[in-house]
């Protein structure tokens, strides 16, 4: 048996008591580390990065102009001279696919950015003021999001009597911000009910400061993930609308417009359809996979 004399009190060393084994990790540092661990997401990111670089660079470096018609070399299959072949007017498809990529990617990124900004401001205001302001604002959102998207876009192109890229973008954004507004509002409401916001209120921190230091930083990652998932949605909507003839007009082009042209001669010249369709699919897949990776990396609840 042990007795009291068998034990001595050695005390506790406060300096060394609770030391950290690893270096301080900021929130974003930790998120970046976890994103890197997700190989699929990193590959998707690299592919997207290369894609963005090539849509900028290829049309500049290419020896062919994307509008230049060459009637002597129409409908040529892919070769060393024309990597993706030529279309029915003899235009180089390689150049056209990347030129169309500019429009498609730009619509995706600008659209998602506009939607995110408008949605954040609207949702933020609704959550901040609450009560009947919130009530009224959310009913507006519900009405807007119940209107079919396609209908709005057709009406817009009638109203402005044009079907240019900017009209298309405008029409897609008009209803597109509603889900973002809802998301931001619910996240903000959740944060404003949290104990750290209550602690800040008890301490007398001003409402504006609470919004700036607690609400926005805790919502931003959610918004980043949402934008990433929204970009492929915009790209696909644009492709679909251009395909049915409501979007980009010739000689300007986009992946959707190219696919639409290629579809006419699909049974004889399938390469004309294949390349734009392939890039649409590749981009959407990469954005979705990267978004998955970002969501896993940024969600504090998934931290091991």
């Amino acid at each position: 048996m042990f007795e009291e004399k068998d034990f001595t009190i050695i005390g506790a060393d406060a300096e060394r008591g609770e030391a950290f084994a690893r270096k301080p990790v900021t929130y974003w540092g930790d998120a970046f580390r976890r994103f890197k661990e997700n190989k699929v997401a990193v590959v998707a990111f690299v592919v997207l990065f290369l894609l963005v670089i090539s849509v900028i660079v290829v049309p500049i470096l290419s020896p062919y102009d994307y509008t230049k018609q060459d009637l002597r070399s129409r409908k040529e299959w892919p070769s060393a001279e024309h990597i993706f072949g030529t279309d029915s007017l003899g235009r180089d498809l390689f150049t056209r696919v990347f030129q169309g990529g500019r429009v498609s990617l730009a619509i995706g990124i600008i659209g998602a950015a506009v939607v995110a900004i408008v949605g954040c401001i609207y949702g933020g205001i609704a959550a901040y003021f609450g009560g009947w302001v919130d009530m009224a604002m959310m009913r507006v959102v519900e009405v807007l999001s119940s209107v079919p998207n396609l209908l709005v876009i057709i009406m817009m192109s009638l109203l402005f009597d044009s079907s240019s890229v900017s009209t298309l973008l405008f029409a897609m954004c008009i209803t597109g911000w509603c889900p973002v507004a809802r998301l931001v509002r619910s996240q903000m409401l959740q944060i404003s009910a949290s104990e750290y916001v209550m602690a800040a209120r008890v301490m007398g921190v001003s409402p504006l400061k609470i919004v700036l230091t607690h609400m926005i930083p805790n919502t931003i990652s959610l918004i980043i993930v949402n934008i990433t998932f929204r970009i492929p949605g915009f790209i696909f909507s644009e492709a679909f609308l251009s395909y049915v003839g409501l979007g980009v007009q010739p000689p300007s082009t986009s992946w959707g417009a190219l696919a639409s042209e290629g579809q006419v001669t699909l049974s004889f010249y399938p390469y004309m359809m294949f390349f734009p369709a392939f890039f649409i699919a590749l981009t959407m897949l990469c954005f979705t996979l990267m978004g998955d990776g970002l969501r896993d990396a940024l969600d504090p609840k998934l931290r091991r």
Partner: protein, 321 residues
């Protein structure tokens, strides 16, 4: 006696609107005092209004009726400057150490947050202050650059305490500060709180359902049931001789360690009534073993049955002869 009270709470009510026009009487007609430098505990089952009561005191929830006198002044009628001072002097420690710290903020920033509102320190003074506070709660200066997710539950709770102390408060509402911690850490945190109280002359409102811990830390205790105080007394007499039938039942459930229990457990029948629809008269009447006709008609008021020992029960005098 009365000028020694930091808080005098008179007939405090806090109702929450519920569906179809009903109200939940979370705090219903509660009267008690908190003396300067003491630890006043509120105990009771989950949902009896302890937390709501604490939050209403600090103005997190507006009160429905009654009065809260802080230093003899009605807390809802303070001027702007007085309100700011009130917010500096009254702090809160939370139950859940995982949700009370902003996950995106470094510990140093969290501790400084309130300090920056009330004190004009230079950045160097601020960092020095943070370091001091971290030492005070038993942590090292290293912690200032860390983030909440890198800390254990006990360490987070200490950060919560340091954040409250940064304001040089005089009163802290401790809302179940140890309920989410494991037992070895509970003792550390409680002892830290007792030490700080003696060092800085703090007054605590301690909200808990851990009856053994409440006995250890409290000077006076209020027992709540369904939003009402049923018994208020100094800690010793309350544990030795509870007067209210509910308190008796509650305390008989404290487990004894080391000896074969000789006392008989009082088993209450039935469930806690729905707070939207409490029984008429005495709220405990639906479960009280000594219920009489009078109990279901007339709500009992707190009466001083023994010196400084208040109980709200019609039968208390008869039962405790």
């Amino acid at each position: 006696m009365s000028n020694n009270n930091l808080y005098e709470i008179r007939n405090l009510k806090r109702y929450f609107p519920a569906k179809n026009g009903k109200v939940v009487k979370a705090v219903d007609d509660v009267t008690f005092n908190i003396a300067r430098g003491e630890t006043f505990s509120l105990v009771g089952e989950s949902g009896c209004g302890k937390t709501t009561c604490g939050r209403t005191l600090l103005g997190v929830y507006p009160k429905t009726a009654g009065s809260i006198l802080y230093n003899g002044k009605e807390s809802s009628e303070l001027s702007r400057a007085e309100q700011k001072e009130f917010k500096r002097q009254n702090q809160m420690i939370f139950q859940d150490p995982y949700s009370c710290l902003d996950p995106r903020m470094a510990i140093g920033t969290i501790i400084q947050e309130g300090m920056n509102v009330h004190y004009d320190y230079t950045p160097a003074e601020r960092n020095e202050k943070v370091r001091e506070l971290l030492y005070k709660v038993g942590l090292t200066a290293d912690f200032a650059s860390r983030f909440p997710h890198e800390l254990s539950g006990g360490q987070r709770q200490r950060i919560g305490i340091a954040r409250a102390l940064a304001m040089n408060p005089s009163f802290i509402v401790c809302d179940e500060p140890i309920a989410a911690l494991d037992v070895s850490i509970q003792a550390q945190v409680i002892n830290l709180m007792i030490d700080l109280q003696q060092e800085m002359g703090l007054t605590y409102l301690f909200i808990s359902h851990d009856l053994s811990m409440v006995r250890h830390i409290s000077d006076r205790i209020g027992v709540m049931y369904l939003g009402s105080l049923v018994e208020v007394s100094a800690s010793g007499p309350l544990y030795e001789k509870p007067l209210h039938p509910y308190t008796k039942a509650l305390f008989s459930a404290i487990p004894d360690i080391g000896k074969r229990s000789t006392k008989e457990r009082i088993r209450l029948q039935g469930e806690i009534p729905n707070p939207m629809n409490p029984p008429p008269g005495c709220k405990f009447s639906s479960r009280c073993p000594y219920v009489t006709d009078r109990c279901s008609h007339e709500a009992p008021q707190l009466q001083e049955l023994e010196p400084d020992h208040f109980v709200a029960c019609h039968m208390a005098a008869v039962l405790n002869k």
